[in-house]
Amino acid sequence: MGKKNWLILLGTAVFICSFPMLVTKIKAISHYVDVMVFAGIFTLVCIGLSLLMGYAGQICLAQAAFFGIGAYTSGILTTKFGLDPWMAMPAGMILSGLVAWIIGVPALRLRGHYLAMATLGFGVIVNIVLAEEVDWTGGPSGMADIPALQIAGYKITSDIAWYYLVWGIVFCALIFCLQILRSRVGRALRAIHEEEKAAECMGVPTASYKVRVFILSAVLAAIAGSLYAHYVACINPSSFNLMWSIRFMLMVMVGGMQSLWGALVGAVLMTFVGNEWLRMFAEFEILVYGSILLAVALFLPGGIVSLASTIARRRAKRASALEDAVS
């Protein structure tokens, strides 16, 4: 898997593993573990979105809808039908994937603005359904008492346990997607993004691939949704609305669309911004998000990851220039 990616993966894994131990020592930031659980859940959503937007080049403003489908499926199946949470999660994944397939096939034939609006509209429709179907979803006040996850009889309730569970799943998803990207499929996706017609004339079934990436991103968002539902134990439609879809897109853009690591960086950063630093300025939140999105779109469309690689490239250039000057 490319030496560079292995190293980053290893480094990130080490950091993630040791993070709780470092942070719980300091009282003031020991709750960061809880924030990082959310960050991990959102990273899962963003990985799929990053594949869709950054690699296949398709804009999607409905990620929160799939997030919500996963969350509510888990919630409904476990509270109303007493299903084991670990059975409910795959059900949410399947439902989310099915919906993504049904919507994706016609929608992904569209381009640019039309696709954006179609996904926007779809996302809002899902949100309306979640709020209206009171018998199933509990309506605007949502549902509560979602049972905790268990592994081999041991209930996962502490922040630390959740932390390792969520980030473990995130790393599995990362590895899965990295493997896809370095295969012929990943090449095909990048080709579709750059020159769709040429890719198609070289035998890439572009329409089918776009739909498959869409389905993959929906399934990942659904897993995240299930985890979210069990973590916060009560959910309502306002966590799965348009503003959330835009938040996810913001995370991907800030981190950098063209790289899965961008999804991680963006999700973690924006979760901290949202949970921690904006907590005191709640009314400013929307304005701040809009401004960040605008600034990134105008001045740093490649996100933080592109900044990092530009700096690395400049250092390399300076180093080689230095070599030439000295020799």
Binding site: P106, A116, A118, F122, L287
Partner: protein
């Protein structure tokens, strides 16, 4: 049963006029630049809330508040083009979408800061109770809405047919490079289209506020439904926008009345999806032309 039908029809026509106006706003910018302005709905929101500010807080008479609000929102449109869009016009589709989306969020965030989450109202333009015709109650404001919408359509049609600016804008829509060569300042035409769409949106906002109040986050849904009307009518087709707006308004009103009021918002959205999936060029657009468009 009969009066219900007409009651729903009237409210459908009323809200349909609003959707038509939002759709025309989209068409104005789209036809000159091929950009979809995701912040279109926020123009409507700002129009309503600015009018509340001028009439309520400053105590101006309604017609003055209308004018000031429309002018102020027009300035917002101007600023949007000059400061942001002008910088970004040659970027990718994705960037453009995200930029107008970001602008819409910023406007919403700004409105939240200024006006808070509460809905605000305006007094109706003319006082007096509902007019009763054959058992159907028609609010005078509804007539104002339909009337002002009709006026705007007529004014726009004249503008595009007779005025040199209007024709210049249409020329840019057809072929910006040729228009530039012919001496038409394309940048100015784009600016004009933004101002125009902001003004029309604001007018829609002012006239709807006495009926259904206005709050900071109304923009998104209105914008989406207005876009639905724009696409249903065929992007760039002004007459189509009018017809489609009315269709959408009626569909929504009948659904709310006869089926379920909770899902009424979904009606316009489902129609939007159907149009996009099945006939993206809309009722009056041309299929070939739609496929050749830049975006």
């Amino acid at each position: 049963m009969g009066t219900d039908f007409f009651q729903y029809a009237i409210s459908g026509l009323t809200i349909g006029a609003i959707y038509a106006m939002v759709a025309i706003g989209y068409n104005a910018i789209y036809s000159v630049t091929e950009i979809i302005n995701f912040a279109q709905g926020e123009f409507v929101m700002l129009g309503g809330l600015f009018a509340v500010f001028f009439a309520g807080t400053l105590g101006l008479p309604l017609y003055a508040a209308f004018l000031c609000s429309v002018v102020l929102t027009g300035c917002v449109g101007l600023a949007m083009d000059r400061l942001i869009i002008g910088r970004a016009r040659d970027t990718s589709v994705l960037s453009l979408i995200i930029i107008t989306l970001a602008l819409s969020i910023m406007l919403k965030g700004g409105a939240l800061l200024w006006w808070g989450k509460d809905p605000y109202s305006l007094p109706p333009f003319s006082s007096g109770g509902p007019i009763r015709i054959a058992g159907v109650a028609i609010q005078p404001q509804a007539l104002w809405i339909i009337g002002i919408c009709a006026l705007i359509i007529i004014a726009l049609t004249l503008f595009f047919r007779k005025s040199i600016y209007g024709q210049a804008m249409l020329a840019c829509a057809n072929n910006a490079s040729a228009a530039r060569l012919a001496g038409i300042p394309v940048g100015h035409m784009v600016l004009l289209s933004f101002i125009l769409s902001a003004v029309i949106g604001a007018a829609a906002g002012v006239i709807i506020t006495p009926v259904s109040m206005m709050e900071y986050d109304r923009g998104a849904l209105l914008g989406l439904k207005g876009f639905g009307a724009a696409v249903l009518g065929g992007l760039g087709q002004f007459f189509g926008a009018l017809v489609a707006g009315v269709i959408l308004g009626l569909a929504e009103s009948f659904c709310a009345g006869y089926l379920s009021s909770g899902y009424k918002d979904a009606v316009a959205l489902v129609l939007l999806l159907l149009v996009l999936f099945l006939k993206p060029e809309g009722l009056f657009g041309s299929g070939e032309a739609a496929r050749l468009k830049k975006y």
